[in-house]
Protein backbone atom coordinates (compact mmCIF):
# COMPACT_ATOMS: atom_id res chain seq x y z
CA UNK A 1 0.00 0.00 0.00
CA UNK A 2 2.77 2.42 0.92
CA UNK A 3 4.32 2.29 -2.54
CA UNK A 4 0.99 3.20 -4.16
CA UNK A 5 0.64 6.82 -5.21
CA UNK A 6 -1.03 9.13 -2.70
CA UNK A 7 -3.43 10.51 -5.28
CA UNK A 8 -4.63 8.70 -8.37
CA UNK A 9 -7.06 10.56 -10.56
CA UNK A 10 -8.29 9.07 -13.78
CA UNK A 11 -10.68 10.60 -16.25
CA UNK A 12 -12.17 12.90 -13.67
CA UNK A 13 -15.09 14.90 -15.01
CA UNK A 14 -17.28 17.35 -13.16
CA UNK A 15 -20.21 19.02 -14.79
CA UNK A 16 -22.36 21.67 -13.20
CA UNK A 17 -25.65 22.66 -14.74
CA UNK A 18 -24.63 24.24 -18.01
CA UNK A 19 -20.87 23.98 -17.89
CA UNK A 20 -18.03 21.53 -17.53
CA UNK A 21 -15.67 22.37 -14.68
CA UNK A 22 -13.35 19.40 -15.21
CA UNK A 23 -13.04 17.71 -18.56
CA UNK A 24 -11.64 14.24 -17.91
CA UNK A 25 -8.37 15.00 -16.14
CA UNK A 26 -5.94 12.29 -15.05
CA UNK A 27 -2.89 12.62 -12.85
CA UNK A 28 -1.16 10.95 -9.97
CA UNK A 29 0.86 12.28 -7.07
CA UNK A 30 3.49 10.19 -5.29
CA UNK A 31 3.93 10.13 -1.53
CA UNK A 32 6.00 13.00 -0.15
CA UNK A 33 5.60 15.20 -3.22
CA UNK A 34 4.60 18.86 -3.03
CA UNK A 35 2.51 19.54 -6.09
CA UNK A 36 1.25 22.92 -7.15
CA UNK A 37 -1.95 23.34 -9.11
CA UNK A 38 -1.57 26.46 -11.12
CA UNK A 39 -4.16 28.19 -13.21
CA UNK A 40 -6.35 31.24 -13.59
CA UNK A 41 -9.59 31.61 -11.68
CA UNK A 42 -12.18 29.14 -12.90
CA UNK A 43 -9.61 26.67 -14.24
CA UNK A 44 -10.99 23.87 -12.08
CA UNK A 45 -8.44 23.90 -9.25
CA UNK A 46 -10.91 24.28 -6.40
CA UNK A 47 -13.30 21.76 -7.92
CA UNK A 48 -10.48 19.20 -8.13
CA UNK A 49 -9.62 19.85 -4.49
CA UNK A 50 -13.21 19.64 -3.33
CA UNK A 51 -13.61 16.27 -5.02
CA UNK A 52 -10.32 15.03 -3.54
CA UNK A 53 -11.48 16.08 -0.08
CA UNK A 54 -14.82 14.25 -0.52
CA UNK A 55 -16.89 17.43 -0.24
CA UNK A 56 -18.29 17.03 -3.70
CA UNK A 57 -18.88 13.98 -5.90
CA UNK A 58 -17.41 13.64 -9.38
CA UNK A 59 -19.71 13.36 -12.38
CA UNK A 60 -17.55 10.54 -13.74
CA UNK A 61 -14.08 9.11 -13.36
CA UNK A 62 -12.31 7.65 -10.36
CA UNK A 63 -10.34 9.35 -7.64
CA UNK A 64 -8.32 7.40 -5.11
CA UNK A 65 -6.51 8.86 -2.13
CA UNK A 66 -4.03 6.56 -0.34
CA UNK A 67 -5.67 3.69 -2.18
CA UNK A 68 -9.21 4.52 -1.04
CA UNK A 69 -11.96 5.63 -3.36
CA UNK A 70 -13.23 9.11 -2.45
CA UNK A 71 -16.82 8.14 -3.09
CA UNK A 72 -17.05 4.63 -1.67
CA UNK A 73 -14.57 4.93 1.20
CA UNK A 74 -15.16 8.60 1.85
CA UNK A 75 -14.67 8.36 5.61
CA UNK A 76 -11.33 6.54 5.23
CA UNK A 77 -10.16 9.21 2.82
CA UNK A 78 -11.29 12.04 5.10
CA UNK A 79 -9.36 10.45 7.96
CA UNK A 80 -6.19 10.80 5.90
CA UNK A 81 -6.49 14.33 4.56
CA UNK A 82 -6.10 17.79 5.98
CA UNK A 83 -8.01 20.26 3.86
CA UNK A 84 -7.96 24.04 3.98
CA UNK A 85 -10.61 25.45 1.64
CA UNK A 86 -10.38 28.70 -0.26
CA UNK A 87 -11.05 31.76 1.92
CA UNK A 88 -10.18 29.65 4.96
CA UNK A 89 -13.52 29.55 6.81
CA UNK A 90 -13.15 29.43 10.61
CA UNK A 91 -15.47 29.63 13.60
CA UNK A 92 -14.88 33.26 14.45
CA UNK A 93 -16.44 33.09 17.89
CA UNK A 94 -13.98 30.47 19.14
CA UNK A 95 -10.53 30.90 20.64
CA UNK A 96 -7.55 29.56 18.68
CA UNK A 97 -6.71 26.72 21.05
CA UNK A 98 -10.35 25.86 21.60
CA UNK A 99 -10.94 25.71 17.86
CA UNK A 100 -7.94 23.47 17.24
CA UNK A 101 -9.06 21.22 20.07
CA UNK A 102 -12.53 21.01 18.55
CA UNK A 103 -11.09 20.14 15.15
CA UNK A 104 -8.58 17.64 16.54
CA UNK A 105 -11.35 15.83 18.43
CA UNK A 106 -13.52 15.77 15.29
CA UNK A 107 -10.64 14.22 13.42
CA UNK A 108 -10.57 11.41 15.93
CA UNK A 109 -7.63 12.40 18.13
CA UNK A 110 -7.86 11.38 21.78
CA UNK A 111 -7.68 13.88 24.60
CA UNK A 112 -3.99 13.51 25.43
CA UNK A 113 -2.90 13.14 21.82
CA UNK A 114 -4.84 16.21 20.74
CA UNK A 115 -3.24 18.26 23.53
CA UNK A 116 0.25 17.23 22.35
CA UNK A 117 -0.52 17.82 18.71
CA UNK A 118 -2.08 21.23 19.38
CA UNK A 119 1.06 22.32 21.27
CA UNK A 120 3.16 21.16 18.34
CA UNK A 121 1.15 22.85 15.60
CA UNK A 122 0.79 26.06 17.61
CA UNK A 123 4.56 26.20 17.68
CA UNK A 124 4.99 25.11 14.07
CA UNK A 125 2.64 27.85 12.89
CA UNK A 126 3.94 30.48 15.37
CA UNK A 127 0.54 30.75 17.02
CA UNK A 128 1.53 30.13 20.64
CA UNK A 129 1.21 33.83 21.53
CA UNK A 130 -2.34 34.09 20.25
CA UNK A 131 -3.60 30.68 21.38
CA UNK A 132 -6.07 32.28 23.79
CA UNK A 133 -7.31 34.99 21.42
CA UNK A 134 -10.67 34.91 19.70
CA UNK A 135 -10.26 33.94 16.04
CA UNK A 136 -12.59 36.68 14.79
CA UNK A 137 -10.25 39.32 16.25
CA UNK A 138 -7.09 37.99 14.63
CA UNK A 139 -5.36 39.47 11.59
CA UNK A 140 -5.56 37.74 8.24
CA UNK A 141 -2.07 36.28 8.60
CA UNK A 142 -2.86 34.68 11.91
CA UNK A 143 -6.21 33.38 10.67
CA UNK A 144 -4.49 31.79 7.69
CA UNK A 145 -2.05 30.07 10.00
CA UNK A 146 -4.90 28.86 12.19
CA UNK A 147 -6.38 27.26 9.06
CA UNK A 148 -3.03 25.65 8.29
CA UNK A 149 -2.65 24.43 11.86
CA UNK A 150 -6.09 22.87 11.57
CA UNK A 151 -5.14 21.15 8.32
CA UNK A 152 -2.04 19.50 9.83
CA UNK A 153 -3.19 18.93 13.42
CA UNK A 154 -3.99 15.24 12.91
CA UNK A 155 -0.82 14.56 10.89
CA UNK A 156 -2.66 13.65 7.72
CA UNK A 157 -0.98 11.77 4.89
CA UNK A 158 -2.25 14.28 2.37
CA UNK A 159 -2.58 18.03 2.92
CA UNK A 160 -4.75 19.93 0.48
CA UNK A 161 -4.43 23.71 0.61
CA UNK A 162 -6.59 25.88 -1.61
CA UNK A 163 -4.80 29.20 -2.13
CA UNK A 164 -3.04 29.22 1.24
CA UNK A 165 -1.25 32.56 0.85
CA UNK A 166 -4.02 34.64 -0.66
CA UNK A 167 -4.32 38.09 0.91
CA UNK A 168 -1.19 37.84 3.03
CA UNK A 169 1.61 40.39 3.27
CA UNK A 170 5.07 39.38 1.93
CA UNK A 171 6.41 38.53 5.38
CA UNK A 172 3.46 36.30 6.15
CA UNK A 173 3.70 34.66 2.72
CA UNK A 174 7.31 33.71 3.50
CA UNK A 175 6.26 32.21 6.80
CA UNK A 176 3.50 30.15 5.23
CA UNK A 177 5.76 29.03 2.39
CA UNK A 178 8.51 27.87 4.68
CA UNK A 179 5.93 26.04 6.73
CA UNK A 180 4.65 24.25 3.62
CA UNK A 181 8.21 23.40 2.59
CA UNK A 182 8.88 21.95 6.03
CA UNK A 183 5.99 19.54 5.51
CA UNK A 184 7.57 17.89 2.49
CA UNK A 185 8.85 14.37 2.85
CA UNK A 186 6.61 13.30 5.70
CA UNK A 187 3.44 14.60 4.06
CA UNK A 188 2.14 14.84 0.55
CA UNK A 189 0.99 18.37 -0.19
CA UNK A 190 -1.28 19.62 -2.95
CA UNK A 191 -1.56 23.39 -3.12
CA UNK A 192 -3.46 25.51 -5.56
CA UNK A 193 -2.58 29.03 -6.40
CA UNK A 194 -2.50 31.55 -9.17
CA UNK A 195 0.61 33.17 -7.77
CA UNK A 196 3.55 31.86 -9.75
CA UNK A 197 6.57 32.50 -7.53
CA UNK A 198 4.81 30.52 -4.84
CA UNK A 199 4.81 27.38 -6.94
CA UNK A 200 8.33 28.03 -8.13
CA UNK A 201 9.60 28.24 -4.58
CA UNK A 202 7.66 25.54 -2.81
CA UNK A 203 6.64 22.82 -5.22
CA UNK A 204 8.50 19.82 -6.56
CA UNK A 205 6.03 19.54 -9.42
CA UNK A 206 3.68 21.93 -11.17
CA UNK A 207 0.44 21.18 -12.95
CA UNK A 208 -0.92 23.97 -15.06
CA UNK A 209 -4.69 23.88 -15.41
CA UNK A 210 -6.96 25.76 -17.73
CA UNK A 211 -10.60 25.31 -18.65
CA UNK A 212 -10.89 22.05 -16.71
CA UNK A 213 -7.85 20.43 -18.34
CA UNK A 214 -4.25 19.86 -17.31
CA UNK A 215 -2.04 21.55 -19.89
CA UNK A 216 1.38 20.79 -18.48
CA UNK A 217 2.78 18.77 -15.61
CA UNK A 218 6.47 18.76 -14.74
CA UNK A 219 9.03 20.01 -12.25
CA UNK A 220 9.52 23.80 -12.34
CA UNK A 221 13.13 23.22 -13.52
CA UNK A 222 12.12 20.91 -16.34
CA UNK A 223 9.46 23.31 -17.48
CA UNK A 224 12.09 26.03 -17.51
CA UNK A 225 14.68 24.01 -19.37
CA UNK A 226 12.10 23.09 -21.96
CA UNK A 227 11.79 26.79 -22.61
CA UNK A 228 15.49 27.61 -22.10
CA UNK A 229 16.23 27.25 -25.81
CA UNK A 230 14.62 30.57 -26.29
CA UNK A 231 16.28 32.18 -23.26
CA UNK A 232 18.26 35.28 -24.18
CA UNK A 233 21.65 36.46 -23.00
CA UNK A 234 22.02 40.13 -22.19
CA UNK A 235 25.42 41.81 -22.32
CA UNK A 236 26.12 45.51 -21.78
CA UNK A 237 29.41 46.37 -23.41
CA UNK A 238 31.20 49.67 -24.11
CA UNK A 239 32.34 49.24 -27.73
CA UNK A 240 31.55 50.68 -31.17
CA UNK A 241 28.28 49.37 -32.60
CA UNK A 242 29.85 48.16 -35.85
CA UNK A 243 32.48 46.08 -34.03
CA UNK A 244 29.85 44.52 -31.80
CA UNK A 245 27.65 43.60 -34.75
CA UNK A 246 30.54 41.97 -36.63
CA UNK A 247 31.59 40.04 -33.54
CA UNK A 248 28.10 38.62 -33.03
CA UNK A 249 27.58 37.74 -36.66
CA UNK A 250 30.89 35.87 -36.64
CA UNK A 251 29.98 33.87 -33.52
CA UNK A 252 28.43 30.63 -34.78
CA UNK A 253 26.37 29.91 -31.67
CA UNK A 254 24.44 33.18 -31.97
CA UNK A 255 21.22 32.67 -33.81
CA UNK A 256 19.94 36.20 -33.56
CA UNK A 257 21.26 39.41 -32.07
CA UNK A 258 20.01 42.87 -31.30
CA UNK A 259 22.19 45.84 -30.34
CA UNK A 260 20.69 48.97 -28.84
CA UNK A 261 22.37 52.00 -27.25
CA UNK A 262 22.40 52.26 -23.48
CA UNK A 263 23.57 55.02 -21.08
CA UNK A 264 27.05 56.39 -21.66
CA UNK A 265 28.98 54.68 -24.45
CA UNK A 266 27.57 51.29 -23.50
CA UNK A 267 25.45 49.16 -25.80
CA UNK A 268 22.91 46.62 -24.78
CA UNK A 269 23.20 43.37 -26.76
CA UNK A 270 20.40 40.82 -26.61
CA UNK A 271 21.66 37.52 -28.00
CA UNK A 272 19.60 34.46 -28.77
CA UNK A 273 21.82 31.36 -28.64
CA UNK A 274 21.36 28.35 -30.90
CA UNK A 275 20.10 25.17 -29.13
CA UNK A 276 19.86 26.91 -25.80
CA UNK A 277 23.59 26.78 -25.09
CA UNK A 278 25.15 29.13 -22.56
CA UNK A 279 27.21 31.78 -24.37
CA UNK A 280 28.40 33.68 -21.35
CA UNK A 281 31.95 32.27 -21.11
CA UNK A 282 32.56 32.93 -24.83
CA UNK A 283 31.29 36.47 -24.52
CA UNK A 284 33.48 37.10 -21.50
CA UNK A 285 36.58 35.80 -23.31
CA UNK A 286 35.77 37.94 -26.33
CA UNK A 287 35.40 41.08 -24.23
CA UNK A 288 38.70 40.34 -22.50
CA UNK A 289 40.53 39.79 -25.79
CA UNK A 290 39.24 42.99 -27.34
CA UNK A 291 39.81 45.04 -24.20
CA UNK A 292 36.20 46.23 -24.06
CA UNK A 293 34.42 47.26 -20.90
CA UNK A 294 31.70 44.95 -19.61
CA UNK A 295 29.15 45.94 -16.96
CA UNK A 296 26.43 43.33 -17.26
CA UNK A 297 26.26 39.74 -18.44
CA UNK A 298 23.11 37.80 -17.62
CA UNK A 299 21.08 34.94 -18.88
CA UNK A 300 17.44 35.75 -19.16
CA UNK A 301 15.87 32.65 -17.64
CA UNK A 302 12.29 32.01 -18.48
CA UNK A 303 10.28 32.45 -15.38
CA UNK A 304 7.35 30.19 -14.72
CA UNK A 305 5.27 33.20 -15.59
CA UNK A 306 6.44 33.09 -19.21
CA UNK A 307 5.74 29.39 -19.35
CA UNK A 308 2.35 29.89 -17.81
CA UNK A 309 1.46 32.65 -20.24
CA UNK A 310 2.73 30.59 -23.19
CA UNK A 311 0.89 27.46 -22.15
CA UNK A 312 -2.39 29.14 -21.40
CA UNK A 313 -2.42 31.66 -24.21
CA UNK A 314 -3.67 29.74 -27.27
CA UNK A 315 -6.60 28.31 -25.37
CA UNK A 316 -7.60 31.67 -24.04
CA UNK A 317 -7.75 32.94 -27.56
CA UNK A 318 -9.93 30.02 -28.58
CA UNK A 319 -12.50 30.87 -25.93
Amino acid sequence: MSSAPMIEVSNLTKRYAGHTALAGISFSVARGEIVGLLGPNGAGKSTTMRILSCFMPATSGTVRVAGYDVFHDSEEVRRRIGYMPENNPLHNEMRVREYLKFRARLKGLGRARSRDRIDTVLQQCSLTDVSKRIIGQLSKGYRQRVGLADAIVHEPDLIILDEPTIGLDPHQIRLVRSLIKSLSGSHTVLISTHILPEVEMTCSRVMIMLGGKILASDTPDNLQSRMAGKGQIIAEIAAPVAELKTAWSQMAEVEHYDVSPSEGNFHRCALTPRDGCDLRPEIFTLVQQRGWQLRELTRNRHSLEDIYVQVTKPNEEEE
Binding site: I81, L90, M94
Partner: protein, 250 residues
Protein backbone atom coordinates in the same frame (compact mmCIF):
# COMPACT_ATOMS: atom_id res chain seq x y z
CA UNK B 1 -19.85 9.06 20.55
CA UNK B 2 -17.10 11.57 21.31
CA UNK B 3 -17.60 13.15 17.88
CA UNK B 4 -21.29 13.63 18.69
CA UNK B 5 -20.46 15.20 22.05
CA UNK B 6 -17.74 17.41 20.55
CA UNK B 7 -20.10 18.67 17.86
CA UNK B 8 -22.96 19.15 20.29
CA UNK B 9 -20.82 21.05 22.77
CA UNK B 10 -19.63 23.43 20.08
CA UNK B 11 -23.12 23.87 18.70
CA UNK B 12 -24.52 24.62 22.14
CA UNK B 13 -21.57 26.90 22.81
CA UNK B 14 -22.41 29.10 19.84
CA UNK B 15 -25.68 30.10 21.52
CA UNK B 16 -23.87 31.27 24.61
CA UNK B 17 -20.73 32.88 23.21
CA UNK B 18 -22.80 35.16 21.03
CA UNK B 19 -25.66 37.39 22.02
CA UNK B 20 -28.20 35.13 20.25
CA UNK B 21 -28.67 32.76 23.17
CA UNK B 22 -29.12 35.48 25.74
CA UNK B 23 -31.49 37.46 23.55
CA UNK B 24 -33.69 34.40 23.01
CA UNK B 25 -33.72 33.48 26.70
CA UNK B 26 -34.54 37.01 27.81
CA UNK B 27 -37.19 37.24 25.11
CA UNK B 28 -38.87 34.11 26.37
CA UNK B 29 -38.55 35.26 29.99
CA UNK B 30 -40.20 38.54 29.04
CA UNK B 31 -43.00 36.88 27.11
CA UNK B 32 -43.84 34.26 29.71
CA UNK B 33 -43.60 36.90 32.45
CA UNK B 34 -45.98 39.11 30.49
CA UNK B 35 -48.45 36.36 29.90
CA UNK B 36 -48.41 35.47 33.58
CA UNK B 37 -49.12 39.10 34.43
CA UNK B 38 -52.08 39.02 32.09
CA UNK B 39 -53.18 35.76 33.61
CA UNK B 40 -53.09 37.13 37.13
CA UNK B 41 -55.06 40.21 36.13
CA UNK B 42 -57.66 38.04 34.44
CA UNK B 43 -58.01 35.83 37.49
CA UNK B 44 -58.46 38.99 39.52
CA UNK B 45 -58.48 37.20 42.83
CA UNK B 46 -61.42 34.98 42.02
CA UNK B 47 -60.85 31.30 42.57
CA UNK B 48 -60.00 29.07 39.65
CA UNK B 49 -60.26 25.33 39.56
CA UNK B 50 -57.57 24.89 36.93
CA UNK B 51 -53.84 24.61 37.56
CA UNK B 52 -51.81 27.69 36.53
CA UNK B 53 -49.93 25.80 33.87
CA UNK B 54 -53.10 24.90 32.05
CA UNK B 55 -54.32 28.49 32.14
CA UNK B 56 -50.99 29.58 30.70
CA UNK B 57 -51.28 27.27 27.73
CA UNK B 58 -54.73 28.51 26.96
CA UNK B 59 -53.24 31.88 26.05
CA UNK B 60 -51.70 32.16 22.58
CA UNK B 61 -48.54 33.56 24.15
CA UNK B 62 -47.03 30.10 24.48
CA UNK B 63 -47.51 29.42 20.79
CA UNK B 64 -46.03 32.75 19.72
CA UNK B 65 -43.01 31.99 21.84
CA UNK B 66 -42.68 28.49 20.51
CA UNK B 67 -43.04 29.49 16.86
CA UNK B 68 -40.71 32.47 16.93
CA UNK B 69 -38.08 30.96 19.23
CA UNK B 70 -38.00 27.77 17.18
CA UNK B 71 -37.39 29.70 13.97
CA UNK B 72 -34.63 31.77 15.57
CA UNK B 73 -32.92 28.77 17.17
CA UNK B 74 -32.97 26.55 14.12
CA UNK B 75 -32.37 29.00 11.28
CA UNK B 76 -28.62 29.10 11.80
CA UNK B 77 -28.03 25.36 12.34
CA UNK B 78 -27.01 24.58 8.76
CA UNK B 79 -27.61 27.77 6.79
CA UNK B 80 -25.06 29.76 8.76
CA UNK B 81 -22.36 27.11 8.35
CA UNK B 82 -23.05 26.85 4.65
CA UNK B 83 -22.92 30.62 4.26
CA UNK B 84 -19.69 31.07 6.22
CA UNK B 85 -18.02 28.06 4.58
CA UNK B 86 -17.38 26.15 7.81
CA UNK B 87 -19.76 23.50 6.47
CA UNK B 88 -17.01 22.54 4.03
CA UNK B 89 -14.40 22.14 6.77
CA UNK B 90 -16.91 20.22 8.87
CA UNK B 91 -17.93 17.82 6.13
CA UNK B 92 -14.35 17.07 5.09
CA UNK B 93 -13.50 15.69 8.55
CA UNK B 94 -14.28 12.02 9.23
CA UNK B 95 -17.70 12.69 10.72
CA UNK B 96 -20.83 10.95 9.48
CA UNK B 97 -23.87 12.84 8.28
CA UNK B 98 -25.90 11.20 11.03
CA UNK B 99 -23.53 12.52 13.68
CA UNK B 100 -23.86 16.03 12.26
CA UNK B 101 -27.65 15.94 12.08
CA UNK B 102 -28.17 14.36 15.48
CA UNK B 103 -25.70 16.61 17.29
CA UNK B 104 -27.16 19.77 15.81
CA UNK B 105 -30.65 18.64 16.72
CA UNK B 106 -29.61 17.67 20.26
CA UNK B 107 -27.84 20.97 20.86
CA UNK B 108 -30.80 23.00 19.60
CA UNK B 109 -33.20 20.96 21.72
CA UNK B 110 -31.10 21.32 24.88
CA UNK B 111 -30.93 25.06 24.32
CA UNK B 112 -34.67 25.13 23.75
CA UNK B 113 -35.26 23.42 27.09
CA UNK B 114 -32.90 25.83 28.86
CA UNK B 115 -34.88 28.62 27.25
CA UNK B 116 -38.02 27.52 29.11
CA UNK B 117 -36.43 27.71 32.55
CA UNK B 118 -37.72 31.26 33.21
CA UNK B 119 -41.18 29.83 32.74
CA UNK B 120 -40.51 27.50 35.65
CA UNK B 121 -39.58 30.55 37.69
CA UNK B 122 -42.90 32.19 36.83
CA UNK B 123 -44.75 29.09 38.00
CA UNK B 124 -43.01 29.18 41.34
CA UNK B 125 -43.73 32.87 41.81
CA UNK B 126 -47.41 32.18 41.16
CA UNK B 127 -47.40 29.34 43.63
CA UNK B 128 -45.72 31.49 46.22
CA UNK B 129 -48.34 34.24 45.97
CA UNK B 130 -51.34 31.98 45.44
CA UNK B 131 -50.49 30.29 48.74
CA UNK B 132 -52.47 27.32 47.55
CA UNK B 133 -51.18 23.81 47.21
CA UNK B 134 -53.38 23.21 44.17
CA UNK B 135 -52.04 26.13 42.16
CA UNK B 136 -49.03 24.16 41.06
CA UNK B 137 -48.71 20.43 41.00
CA UNK B 138 -45.38 18.71 40.45
CA UNK B 139 -46.98 15.99 38.34
CA UNK B 140 -48.71 18.52 36.16
CA UNK B 141 -45.51 20.51 35.85
CA UNK B 142 -43.65 17.40 34.74
CA UNK B 143 -46.26 16.51 32.13
CA UNK B 144 -46.23 20.14 30.96
CA UNK B 145 -42.49 20.02 30.48
CA UNK B 146 -42.81 16.68 28.72
CA UNK B 147 -45.23 18.38 26.35
CA UNK B 148 -42.94 21.39 25.90
CA UNK B 149 -40.04 19.04 25.23
CA UNK B 150 -41.94 16.92 22.71
CA UNK B 151 -43.35 19.91 20.86
CA UNK B 152 -39.90 21.47 20.88
CA UNK B 153 -38.35 18.33 19.41
CA UNK B 154 -40.90 18.30 16.61
CA UNK B 155 -40.61 22.02 15.84
CA UNK B 156 -36.80 21.92 15.99
CA UNK B 157 -36.67 18.92 13.67
CA UNK B 158 -38.56 20.73 10.95
CA UNK B 159 -36.78 24.01 11.66
CA UNK B 160 -33.49 22.17 11.19
CA UNK B 161 -34.78 20.65 7.99
CA UNK B 162 -35.67 24.11 6.65
CA UNK B 163 -32.17 25.30 7.53
CA UNK B 164 -30.56 22.31 5.80
CA UNK B 165 -32.37 23.22 2.59
CA UNK B 166 -30.95 26.69 2.14
CA UNK B 167 -27.90 28.90 2.51
CA UNK B 168 -29.92 31.87 3.74
CA UNK B 169 -30.82 32.03 7.42
CA UNK B 170 -33.67 34.36 6.50
CA UNK B 171 -35.22 31.82 4.15
CA UNK B 172 -34.75 29.07 6.74
CA UNK B 173 -36.50 31.15 9.41
CA UNK B 174 -39.35 32.03 7.06
CA UNK B 175 -39.80 28.40 6.07
CA UNK B 176 -39.98 27.10 9.61
CA UNK B 177 -42.22 29.97 10.72
CA UNK B 178 -44.52 29.29 7.80
CA UNK B 179 -44.73 25.62 8.57
CA UNK B 180 -45.26 26.23 12.27
CA UNK B 181 -48.04 28.72 11.55
CA UNK B 182 -49.67 26.31 9.12
CA UNK B 183 -49.71 23.59 11.76
CA UNK B 184 -51.02 26.04 14.31
CA UNK B 185 -53.80 27.14 11.97
CA UNK B 186 -54.66 23.51 11.34
CA UNK B 187 -55.54 23.19 15.02
CA UNK B 188 -58.25 25.79 14.56
CA UNK B 189 -59.55 24.25 11.34
CA UNK B 190 -59.85 20.76 12.65
CA UNK B 191 -61.81 21.61 15.75
CA UNK B 192 -61.55 19.77 19.04
CA UNK B 193 -59.17 16.84 19.10
CA UNK B 194 -60.46 13.33 18.70
CA UNK B 195 -63.89 14.66 17.79
CA UNK B 196 -66.37 12.43 16.10
CA UNK B 197 -67.00 13.53 12.56
CA UNK B 198 -66.15 12.36 9.08
CA UNK B 199 -62.79 10.69 8.60
CA UNK B 200 -61.08 13.78 7.19
CA UNK B 201 -61.91 15.68 10.32
CA UNK B 202 -60.76 12.75 12.40
CA UNK B 203 -57.37 12.72 10.67
CA UNK B 204 -56.96 16.47 10.91
CA UNK B 205 -57.92 16.52 14.54
CA UNK B 206 -55.00 14.21 15.31
CA UNK B 207 -52.75 17.05 14.28
CA UNK B 208 -54.41 19.57 16.52
CA UNK B 209 -51.37 20.79 18.39
CA UNK B 210 -53.35 23.20 20.46
CA UNK B 211 -55.53 20.52 21.98
CA UNK B 212 -52.63 18.18 22.51
CA UNK B 213 -50.63 20.72 24.44
CA UNK B 214 -53.69 21.42 26.47
CA UNK B 215 -53.76 17.76 27.46
CA UNK B 216 -50.14 17.83 28.56
CA UNK B 217 -50.73 20.99 30.57
CA UNK B 218 -53.70 19.30 32.17
CA UNK B 219 -51.39 16.58 33.40
CA UNK B 220 -52.39 13.95 30.89
CA UNK B 221 -49.66 12.23 28.92
CA UNK B 222 -51.48 10.63 26.03
CA UNK B 223 -49.37 7.97 24.29
CA UNK B 224 -51.06 8.81 20.98
CA UNK B 225 -49.74 12.38 21.17
CA UNK B 226 -46.33 11.24 22.34
CA UNK B 227 -46.06 8.77 19.48
CA UNK B 228 -47.31 11.27 16.93
CA UNK B 229 -44.83 13.94 18.01
CA UNK B 230 -41.95 11.50 18.23
CA UNK B 231 -42.64 10.02 14.82
CA UNK B 232 -42.98 13.46 13.26
CA UNK B 233 -39.67 14.43 14.87
CA UNK B 234 -37.94 11.35 13.48
CA UNK B 235 -39.55 11.88 10.10
CA UNK B 236 -38.14 15.41 9.82
CA UNK B 237 -34.76 14.31 11.16
CA UNK B 238 -34.73 11.67 8.44
CA UNK B 239 -35.55 14.32 5.82
CA UNK B 240 -32.77 16.52 7.22
CA UNK B 241 -30.34 13.63 6.92
CA UNK B 242 -31.37 13.18 3.29
CA UNK B 243 -30.93 16.90 2.65
CA UNK B 244 -27.42 16.77 4.13
CA UNK B 245 -26.58 13.66 2.10
CA UNK B 246 -27.91 15.23 -1.10
CA UNK B 247 -24.53 17.01 -1.40
CA UNK B 248 -23.16 13.65 -2.52
CA UNK B 249 -25.71 13.11 -5.26
CA UNK B 250 -25.42 16.46 -6.98
Amino acid sequence: MHVFLTLMRRELGTFFVSLTGYVIISGVALLSGLSFCVLIRQMGGSGYQLPVTELFFQSPMFWFTLLIANAVITMRLYAHEKYSGTYETLMTTPVSDLQVVSSKFAAAWVFYMIMWLPFLGCCYIIQHYAKQAGALDTGVLLSTFTGIGLFGAFFISFGGFASALTVSQMVAAMLSLLMGLALFALSYVSGPAFSSGNWQEQVLSRFSLFEQMQEFAHGVIDTRSVLLLLSLTFFFLFLTLRAVESRRWK
